[in-house]
């Protein structure tokens, strides 16, 4: 029986792998001699590939953004499937959509789980720290390979939004529109503090073995799970958690037990999220990407002046924030907007009412999706007018 997917679904998709043998110099001073990047594409490129859109993933995301890998398991589409597809806000009838797993990741692109050519063992903690700028450079090489001279848009939420911002700064002429969603111009001390607790959870797990756990046939499950549980609390809002879980008890009553079994629904939710994450994510990648987040600071290259960083950009910007997001609160997005206005750049800003906290950027909130759709409809019109 042929697979049946909803008409607005991309349907079945297949990841591809790009090989790069020209060394990539990294911000940390080291370089990757050769590396691979896995990516997916949806939609059809136009003649000059000017309808290409890059989606950048966040901490725990990957290249599988939309559609399904397995026709027998239609329950698990890509992480932003509600936004990408024919007729969806990022409309694959208009755009050729590209998303890659970033370097340092654990879903197929070269990262800590890959084999280090120097010693034929997994890199583990010896994998170089990569920055958002490194990612953007590696994505530019992928664009070269795919014959994409300029992105119609680079779009990302959270850490993905930071990449969209960095793209406009690093390659002003290769990006027409930068969509920066639920992001920040750099992490606050509080953000870094949360990352540090997550890292300590992993580092202090006896199964961590200084990052060489692959050789011991174990994974620091408890540490990674704790890190994810902590992360999840920062992705939700107080009101959102109250609405979703309240103080609901799993067995309907308090047991006054001292064994700390899950009693409240929120406990069981967090444990479930933690467990599920351990099975699909690598602890070294988690450590690495939290550092990537901590180091992101485009203003640092411009005397701490963010608007100076935007002076050379040519892209038009759409900045979106969500009211209940306290990880990267609307005030952080407004810092970006203020810097763009001071630099005289084209920018629009939408502040979407939502109680989903930071996670809102993944939710099909009607106003949010209408803003994306409205903006991208114009981008599509612009692209086809240029192509004509």
């Amino acid at each position: 029986m042929p697979p049946t997917f909803h008409p607005d679904s991309i349907g079945l998709v297949t990841p591809q792998t790009a090989h790069f043998d020209e060394p990539l110099a990294l911000d940390c001073g080291r370089s990757l001699a050769d590396y691979e990047m896995v990516y997916e594409t949806y939609g059809t490129p136009n003649a000059d590939r000017s309808n290409a859109v890059l989606i950048c993933h966040a901490l725990s995301g990957d290249h599988h953004v939309a559609g399904y890998h397995d026709e027998d398991d239609p329950g698990k589409p890509g992480w932003w499937d509600n936004c990408i597809g024919p007729g969806k806000p990022i409309d694959t009838r208009d755009f050729f959509v590209v998303c890659c797993n970033n370097l340092g990741g654990c879903k197929g692109s070269t990262g800590p789980t890959a084999i280090n050519p120097d010693n034929r063992k997994p890199y583990g903690p010896d994998f170089p720290i990569v920055t958002v700028k490194d990612w953007v450079r590696s994505q530019a090489r992928l664009a070269d390979q795919l014959g994409i001279a300029q992105w119609a848009a680079v779009i990302g939420g959270s850490l993905g939004g930071m990449q969209a911002m960095q793209w406009a700064i690093t390659f002003p002429e290769r990006i027409r529109h930068s969509l920066v969603i639920a992001a920040a111009p750099r992490l606050s001390a509080q953000n870094i503090a949360f990352n540090e607790v997550a890292r300590q959870a992993i580092l202090s797990d006896p199964d961590f073995h200084h990052g060489h756990y692959y050789e011991f046939g174990v994974v620091p499950r408890r540490g990674l799970m704790l890190a994810r549980m902590l992360g999840h609390i920062t992705y939700l809002s107080d009101e959102g958690m109250r609405a979703k879980f309240g103080r609901e008890l799993r067995e309907g009553k308090m047991n006054f037990n001292f064994n700390f079994d899950t009693e409240f629904q929120v406990e069981s939710y967090l444990r479930h999220q933690g467990h599920a994450f351990v099975d699909r994510f690598d602890a070294n990648t988690y450590l690495l990407i939290t550092k990537t987040l901590d180091y992101f600071d485009p203003a640092a290259d411009f005397d701490e002046d963010l608007s100076a960083a935007f002076h050379r950009t040519q892209a038009h910007f759409l900045v979106i924030a969500f009211t209940s997001d306290w990880r990267f609160a609307p005030a952080r997005s407004r810092e970006i907007v203020r810097a763009l206005v001071r630099a005289g750049r084209e920018v629009s800003y939408a502040e979407i009412p939502s109680e989903y906290g930071h996670d809102a950027f993944l939710m099909p909130i009607p106003l949010y999706h209408e803003v994306l759709r409205g903006y991208l409809t114009r981008v599509a019109r612009e692209v086809s007018a240029d192509a004509a």
């Binding site: 206005v341 939408a350 502040e351 409205g374 409809t377």
Partner: protein, 197 residues
């Protein structure tokens, strides 16, 4: 609305940088962009209006003007425009100051409460006026500061704001003879271009 856009547009230098406070659906900015090649942004608090701006390709910043214009630097715009908004904000005086801090010039339009029909309705009927330019009942009106041309000009004098230009219109935004001769009595809509030395 169109004639008002045209009149404002005549006051705007081509290529200027413009900030439109309470930009609504972005019609004025779109018009100025087309006819005066301006660049700039609109500030708008209403989500539906913000969405319309995005759909129209007008730069919009989804924000509350009542929170002030702290995000914008001194004299960072050639013009700060406020059409039919001044009467609906709480911080009227502070916003006028902010306007002339951020903009080299300000453009303001508002309904004239001194229009003879308003006076007549209060004087003869003893009721809060309901006229074409102020169509709301007292209990559901967004217009919380009602004032006349003379009120406004008195405030400008007191605050040392220079009135650079004034046009007074009827409710259909036509600059007719009556409003020109007796602006505070026959004018229904006032347009001012302001500056501060």
């Amino acid at each position: 609305m169109r004639p008002e856009l045209e009149l404002i547009s005549e006051w705007i230098r081509p290529g200027a940088r413009v900030l439109d406070l309470g930009c609504g659906d972005g019609a004025l900015l779109a018009y100025l962009r087309e006819h005066r090649q301006v660049s700039g942004y609109g500030l708008e608090i209403d989500s539906a209006n913000m969405l319309q701006c995005i759909q129209a390709g007008v730069n919009v910043i989804h924000a509350d003007l009542e929170a002030g214009l702290a995000d914008f630097g001194d004299s960072s715009f050639d013009y700060v425009i406020m059409t039919q908004t001044l009467q609906a904000v709480r911080q009227t005086e502070a916003l006028l100051d902010e306007m002339l801090r951020v903009g080299r010039q300000g453009v303001v339009t508002f309904p004239n409460f001194g229009f003879w029909r308003c006076r007549a309705q209060i004087a003869l009927q003893g009721l809060m006026p309901v006229v074409k330019t102020l169509p709301y009942q007292w209990y559901d009106t967004p217009n919380i500061h009602l004032f006349t041309l003379r009120d406004f000009e008195q405030l400008c004098r007191r605050k040392r704001i220079d009135i650079l230009q004034r046009t007074v219109l009827d409710h259909a935004h036509r600059p007719r003879l009556g409003p020109r001769l007796w602006p505070n009595l026959l004018g229904e809509i006032a347009l001012y271009r302001l500056g501060r030395a």
